[in-house]
């Protein structure tokens, strides 16, 4: 008997959803048109909604007005934001409505402080999670793509120089963890990479400056952080760390010297072998076709 009641309840609860879908359809009437934009003095913001992508997001069952609470009719109420950046920063409050706990800790992170300081490059929620294609952070698709997400800024020399940082993305993708994660993303995207991605060491919403003694990657905490995955890591393990640097004479000297050793050895050996082979072939050719040997 209970299941009949449950079924009825499901039907009743399901009913308003159908009408909410119609509600979304009204918005999509305009917002699905490719290239729908709002303009600000510091650039346009694309407000096109890809309904198919939205249908794959974790928020797919929400109506537009769940988040855009004041956009119940058209024309929309006037915008309070005076710039594109201000609009994006304000949008964080929408996320914070439900994700208050995450918003709170993000606020204390180096990125959160940057947002409050009004720095234009610092990420807001949607910079990493997107606005309308939000997927589960625990999903393989999200995890395996993390280096690319962080790389959006941390591969960019211009942005990094503004904050006295180095671009680290390229060095990461060439490291052990980076190679593995990259191959998971490209070859087996449905499986979560077991290798460390950015947030495993730096954390996500509580990311701090590396120099901050509370950072898990501060020199004093590094080995303990390595041991969260490499539980048996020896005492020198953290010095395996190449600091997201391309090896040079000053940093990871041994790695750099080994690189040079092979840069010289390989052409040297191959050259000698090639010369001897060509000489032998020459001898055969002369014996076969030439008069003189």
């Amino acid at each position: 008997m209970y299941w009949l009641i449950l079924l009825a309840a499901a039907w009743i609860l399901g009913f308003p959803q159908a009408s909410l879908a119609q509600d979304n359809a009204a918005c999509l009437g305009c917002h699905e048109v490719e290239g729908t934009k709002i303009s600000f003095p510091d650039g346009g913001l694309d407000v096109t909604i890809n309904a198919k992508k939205f249908a794959t997001s974790v928020h797919k069952d929400f109506t537009c007005t769940t988040c855009h609470t004041n956009h119940t009719g058209y024309p929309h109420p006037p915008r309070t934001a005076t710039s594109r950046r201000a609009y994006q920063v304000l949008a964080q409050q929408i996320c914070a409505t439900c994700h208050a706990d995450q918003a709170q800790i993000f606020d204390l992170s180096v990125h959160g402080r940057g947002v409050r300081m009004g720095l234009g490059d610092v990420p807001v929620c949607a910079s990493c999670h997107t606005a309308h294609a939000v997927i589960r952070p625990k999903s393989a698709a999200f995890r395996n793509n993390i280096p690319e997400v962080c790389g959006n800024c941390h591969a960019n020399e211009t942005i990094m120089t503004r904050y006295g940082l180095r671009p680290v993305y390229q060095a990461y993708v060439e490291e052990f963890h980076g190679v593995t994660t990259r191959l998971y993303r490209l070859v087996t995207p449905e499986i979560r990479s077991p290798a460390a991605v950015c947030y495993d060491c730096h954390t996500a919403h509580t990311v701090r400056r590396v120099a901050d003694p509370l950072s898990p990657v501060a020199p004093g905490n590094l080995l303990a952080t390595c041991r969260t995955c490499h539980t048996q890591a020896g005492r020198f393990f953290a010095t395996a760390w190449t600091e997201h640097r391309i090896p040079s004479l000053r940093h990871s000297t041994l790695v750099y010297l080994v690189q040079w050793f092979y840069l010289i050895l390989i052409p040297g050996v191959v050259g000698v072998l090639a010369i001897l082979t060509v000489m032998d072939l020459w001898h055969w050719a002369v014996t076969r076709w030439g008069g003189r040997a």
């Binding site: 191959l183 080994v258 690189q259 092979y262 082979t277 032998d280």
Partner: protein, 244 residues
């Protein structure tokens, strides 16, 4: 060693490689190829072909599992070889086949003179000429280095109890560099000397049949001929055989 037999074509032959040595070579051939096939796409992981190859193997974990399985096989073979060499040292008749000496250096120079037409005579090579010795020692050095650097990468947490951590990324660079060197050496040196040399193309069968015709031995390894003759290990002459 020195057992003789007559093949249907090409006159009398002598045994050049024992069955155990031939199996060793086969294990080496098999593991080298599979290690290269599963290792190179890891070194060049940013290229499209590497990703397709890893996809064929079923992802990076399976690729690494295959790589490590055949690495263990190759290391086991290396250890067996070491034991076999040590055991052969106890034999009464030793010919120091792979020992390097000043003679090998003289042979290289002599051979270069011969190939460029500055000398009429090719140096009289022993059981293994300098080309073969180079290849043998390259395999010894290469296997030892690949095993050492591979194990460092396989057990980084263990290694870092005693050695500075920088040896781990350094091992990775050395492993990749040595792999390339080995691959180039095989493609140029081994393929030429065992496959593409005009007189043996498409391949030198000695490593698979284990036998070499006396006629070839006389031309290519005359000092070995002398040694066999001195030890009384040569098969009866063709004429004598015809008499029988």
């Amino acid at each position: 060693m020195g057992r003789t037999s007559v093949r249907r074509r090409g006159g009398p032959t002598v045994e050049r490689f024992s069955i155990a040595q031939r199996i060793e070579h086969f294990v080496l051939l098999l593991s080298f190829n599979i290690l290269a096939l599963t290792g190179l796409p890891q070194k060049y992981s940013t290229t499209g072909w590497a990703q397709r190859l890893i996809d064929v193997f079923g992802g990076i974990e399976t690729t690494r599992l295959i790589h490590r399985t055949f690495a263990v096989l190759l290391m086991a073979q290396g250890l067996y070889h070491l034991a076999a060499v040590l055991a052969s040292q106890r034999r009464q008749v030793r010919r120091h086949d792979m020992h390097l000496s000043r003679q090998d250096l003289r042979d290289v120079i002599g051979d270069m003179k011969f190939m460029t037409g500055r000398s009429r005579e090719r140096p009289r090579f022993g059981r293994f000429d300098y080309r073969q010795k180079f290849e043998y020692w390259a395999v010894v050095w290469g296997t030892a280095l690949m095993a050492a650097t591979g194990l460092v990468m396989w057990f980084p947490t263990f290694i870092s109890q005693w050695l500075p951590g920088v040896v781990i990324p350094a091992a990775r660079v050395a492993h990749g560099g040595e792999a390339l060197l080995a691959l180039f050496a095989v493609i140029i040196w081994h393929f030429y000397n065992a496959h593409f040399r005009p007189d043996i193309f498409p391949m030198d069968p000695a490593m698979f049949t284990g036998k070499v015709p006396l006629e070839r031995l006389r031309h290519e390894h005359p000092r070995e001929m002398d040694n066999l003759e001195a030890a009384g290990l040569l098969p009866p002459r063709e004429s004598e055989q015809a008499d029988k």
